[in-house]
């Protein structure tokens, strides 16, 4: 039964299975184990980014499509919910309306972009998505009356989801079950649902055709598949899931702003997480996201430490090289090394090791 | 029989996961025209491309004029003396006819005598000399492609289906050109679906099926033997040899 739930696509590596189980248990019990807001925040971020990166893996790992617009749909989801709640007040219907609008816009926009760019060489599709993402970021800044510009939008959630609202008159296992906790579990189970749905998609006939198209489009067409339809569908599904992740992000942080959703940094982060985790695996997203979230939290601290000691040693250039502001430099270096030496990511590497050991 | 100018031994070629050439053993005698026959998909074009190094043989050996060229780069194979005219002719449409031919010279300059000789059986080229190759018709492009292959003296020409889609008059022109080349002791390995063209020109024949050579011998014997033609090509004995050329 478990096999069927996971669409016959198990982790296929003991370490990976162990990691995933531990991760799930940690995420599941987070509100009960940790009281600090930062820890809960980290946990929620991992769940949300998993949805975003896993849907990106669908496009890149399974379809072979590089879309730089993926983070844009995340932004659309974020701003959709935020603008609705900011302007029309924190009610359920507004929330539902905003989210639905964001998902619909994402679906339609992804279809338009795909259809417009598929007349030309595939590589041009990638470049087009870059152009669209840039235009979106510029638009967010331009329409600051709507989006709050650089400052972003703050808003309140419907009462039942707020941290002031307490369920159950007594604490549950020592925890005051607030609206925030409810929201947390909603987010967590969304990501679980996303995992299962994506596994189902990639292991279905649809998913197989996508892989066939990725390997050899001409042959897939010759066999009779209308590759255009499949690619459009994949684009649409991925965009909608990304938008959903954006909605969750906005709900969780009660904020939507360019630095968290529209800047190119977000897209780069997604790219790195997907590549490090392992493309074409779906599970890879969990690994990549976890590594990245922890690294991001601690990288700047580490850099600051190195920077301080470099300054003490009198090495000015060394200090500049390791300045916390230059974390993108090291990010880039790690990224490049990953592409060269771990093209299949952590999950790919683990699975390969298992195959080699079995032989 | 003298040493073959080209010998393939047990050559296999894989393209993606397709096993196209499955152990090709082919010997091309040093003079005359060897015709490579076979139905579509038998691997004839792949054989030429593998010889030329455009696709790498996964197994086997290719020896040209006594040298092992299996792992050579395409450019070096050309410089050793093999010219290649692909099925789609490979004409550079943005370049003029003159530029197309110039590209094929090693020195970057034309040898007047050689050019005059080529123009003697392709006189129309003179008229298109400065025209953009993309504006030429199929037959004219084929003239340019062949001319390009012989602008420098080469030991072996690999030609892939030159008569495809050409009007009969052009086919005749090509036949004349090939006869001229034969007279100048150029060896030609010709892939051709047009049996009449092949049989009138060819001295030797090799038949391919399913990535292997299933018959090799003289053209004369092949033409005479109805059973061979029937079995290997599905041609009926009553077919008139005059329908094309």
């Amino acid at each position: 039964m478990l096999k069927h739930l996971f669409s016959d696509d198990p982790p296929r590596s003991r370490w990976l299975t162990l990691f995933l189980c531990v991760l799930f248990v940690v995420l599941l019990s987070a509100p009960f184990v940790w009281t600090s807001a930062r820890a809960l925040n980290t946990a929620a971020t991992i769940s949300i980014f998993f949805i975003l990166v896993a849907s990106f893996d669908l496009l890149l790992g399974y379809c072979g499509i590089v879309s730089f617009a993926h983070a844009m749909f995340f932004g659309i989801g974020s701003y959709g919910a935020a603008i609705a709640l900011h302007r029309f007040g924190p009610t359920w219907s507004v929330l539902a309306g905003g989210a639905a609008a964001a998902l619909a816009i994402s679906a339609i926009l992804s279809l338009l972009i795909a259809m417009a760019s598929l007349r030309v060489k595939a590589i041009f599709f990638t470049m087009s998505t870059l152009a669209f993402a840039a235009a979106f970021a510029a638009l967010v800044q331009r329409l600051s009356w709507l989006t709050g510009g650089d400052d972003g939008l703050n808003f309140r959630l419907p009462e039942p989801l707020s941290s002031g609202h307490i369920y159950f008159t007594v604490p549950l296992v020592g925890l005051d079950v607030t609206g925030k906790v409810v929201l947390y579990y909603f987010v967590l189970f969304s990501s679980l649902a996303a995992l299962l749905i994506l596994l189902r998609i990639v292991n279905s006939r649809f998913g197989r055709v996508l892989e066939a198209v990725r390997e050899n489009e001409l042959r897939a067409e010759a066999i009779g598949y209308r590759t255009l339809t499949f690619r459009l569908a994949a684009n649409c599904i991925a965009a909608v899931i990304a938008a959903w992740a954006g909605v969750l992000m906005a709900l969780w942080s009660r904020y939507a702003g360019p630095s968290t959703s529209a800047d190119f940094n977000v897209m780069l982060n997604v790219l790195l997480m997907a590549v490090v985790g392992g493309l074409g695996t779906i599970y890879g997203a969990a690994v990549g996201v976890t590594i990245f979230v922890f690294a991001q939290n601690y990288l700047q601290l580490a850099l600051a430490a190195v920077n301080a000691s470099a300054l003490k040693l009198g090495g000015e250039w060394l200090a500049r090289l390791f300045h916390p502001d230059r974390w993108l430099l090291w990010f880039g270096v790690v990224f490049i090394l990953c592409v060269y030496f771990f093209p299949n990511g952590v999950v790919g590497y683990l699975r390969l090791r298992r195959i080699r050991r079995v032989r | 029989m003298s040493e073959p100018i080209l010998r393939l031994s047990g050559v296999h070629t894989h393209i993606a996961e397709y096993h196209i050439l499955q152990g090709v053993d082919l010997s091309v005698p040093p003079t005359g025209v060897t015709v490579l026959l076979g139905r579509n998909g038998a691997g004839k074009s792949t054989t030429l491309r593998t010889i030329m190094g455009l696709w790498n043989a996964s197994r086997g050996e290719i020896r040209f004029a006594g040298q092992d060229i299996t792992a050579f780069e395409t450019a070096d194979i050309c410089r050793r003396g093999i010219a290649y005219v692909p099925e789609d002719m490979g004409i550079f449409r943005g370049l003029t006819v003159q530029e197309n031919l110039l590209l094929a010279t090693t020195s970057g300059r034309f040898d007047k005598e050689r050019v005059d000789w080529i123009l003697s059986f392709f006189p129309a080229l003179k008229r298109f000399w400065r025209r953009s190759a993309g504006t030429l018709s199929g037959g004219q492009k084929q003239m340019v492609a062949i001319a390009r292959a012989i602008i420098e003296p080469r030991k072996l020409l690999l030609i892939d289906e030159p008569t495809k889609g050409l009007a009969p008059i052009m086919v005749q022109a090509l036949a004349d050109a090939f006869f001229e080349l034969k007279a100048k002791d150029t060896t030609i390995l010709l892939v051709e679906q047009n049996f009449n063209f092949a049989s009138s020109l060819g001295d030797h024949v090799a038949v391919m099926d399913d990535g292997r050579i299933v018959h090799a011998g003289s053209m004369a014997d092949f033409v005479e033997s109805d059973s061979l033609k029937d079995n290997l090509l599905g041609l009926r004995a009553s077919e008139s040899p005059n329908s094309h050329v």
């Binding site: 590589i123 230059r326 | 395409t74 450019a75 370049l95 590209l103 298109f128 004349d176």
Partner: protein, 345 residues
């Protein structure tokens, strides 16, 4: 046996007549002129129109210089180098530093000294970009030939690293790059003011274009590149090691980007490390709409993008952020292979 007719039977008159010469494709040029002409009544005033048009032409030339390297590399080697924009930034930064060294020449009242100074600054930018380009090709391009996906990933990472290294070397402050007195200010034509630097940028761009066309059409290397962009395999089959030329083309591409960056830096006068990534999207769009490997197409595309950006920026500022995309979509609907494709594949 077959009958062999005398060669005189081959007569071109039996073949369908081919078109004389290469059909001169004036449609893209007509489009440019058309857009400019259309903008005149919309703008309302002649002097505003002239200012916008001159700005568009100048910017178009600079974009052309920046993009030409990318389209050649992509067209010839089938390598997508998203890090190209980093060389634009590098060129601008090196120019700023070099300008510091020739400051007296730049400040001089003699226009000859001015031009000499600018030329040396540009030379510094070009040479540095070429050297870095050599290293870049070895580290980031050569290992990923043949895989578009890896190229995209690696070159994005490379661009990040390059820009960050530039910040390490030069610091995070704004850079200053003032054009010399000879190139500053305006030139009056009747009642219309035309910025001197824009004229200079246009002339430089034209010179670069002319030089590239001469090399492409009169030299053996140019012949190889033009043929290689159409059909790499066939060029190899004709005996040329075209792979060896890749490195040279790559270096030239980086050098051109550096030159474009230096010109752009003078124009902007003050800039940060994002000067490269600011134009990345435009460079990519121009590459798409120009036609891969086509220098003339690149020129048309750059002009079109720059002119439209200027006109739309004035007429409908809210649309300005999407003007590039609109132009791209429109052109691709009309000519999917680009404005001036090398050869429709």
């Amino acid at each position: 046996m077959t009958s062999i007719n005398p060669p005189s039977a081959i007569d071109a008159s039996a073949e369908p007549t081919a078109l004389p010469g290469r059909k001169l494709d004036i449609a893209p040029f007509a489009l440019l002129v058309g857009v400019a002409v259309l903008a005149l009544p919309l703008t309302g005033s002649v002097s505003t129109w002239v200012t916008l048009t001159v700005a568009g032409l100048a910017m178009g030339m600079m974009l052309f210089i920046m993009t030409s390297g990318l389209t050649l590399v992509f067209g010839l080697m089938d390598v997508l180098n998203l890090g190209h924009a980093a060389f634009v930034a590098l060129g601008a930064y090196v120019a700023a530093t070099a300008a510091g060294f020739v400051q007296p020449w730049l400040a001089s009242t003699s226009s000859a000294m001015n031009l000499l100074a600018v030329a040396s600054v540009m030379a510094a930018a070009v040479i540095t970009s070429a050297i870095v380009g050599l290293v870049y090709e070895r580290l980031f391009i050569r290992p990923v030939y043949g895989s578009h996906l890896k190229q995209i990933l690696i070159t994005i990472g490379a661009m990040l690293v390059m820009v960050q290294l530039m910040l390490v070397v030069w610091g995070a402050n704004q850079m200053q790059l003032m054009p010399p007195s000879f190139l500053r200010g305006v030139h009056m034509v009747g009642s219309v003011a035309i910025e001197r630097y824009r004229i200079f940028a246009f002339v430089v761009g034209l010179v670069v274009y002319a030089a590239m066309m001469i090399v492409m059409h009169s030299s053996r290397v140019g012949l190889l590149i033009r043929a290689g962009v159409e059909n790499r395999e066939m060029v190899e089959a004709l005996g040329h090691h075209i792979r060896r030329m890749f490195v040279v083309v790559c270096i030239c591409g980086s050098a051109l980007a550096g030159l474009g960056g230096a010109m752009w830096g003078f124009y902007r006068e003050e800039f940060s490390a994002s000067i490269g990534s600011d134009v990345l999207v435009q460079i990519l769009i121009i590459t798409i709409i120009g036609g891969l490997g086509s220098i003339t197409g690149c020129l048309y595309g750059a002009m079109l993008i720059a002119l439209c950006a200027n006109y739309i920026g004035f007429l409908a500022p809210d649309l300005a952020v999407v003007s590039d995309i609109i132009v791209m979509m429109a052109i691709l609907l009309w000519r999917p292979n680009g404005l001036h494709p090398v050869a429709a594949h």
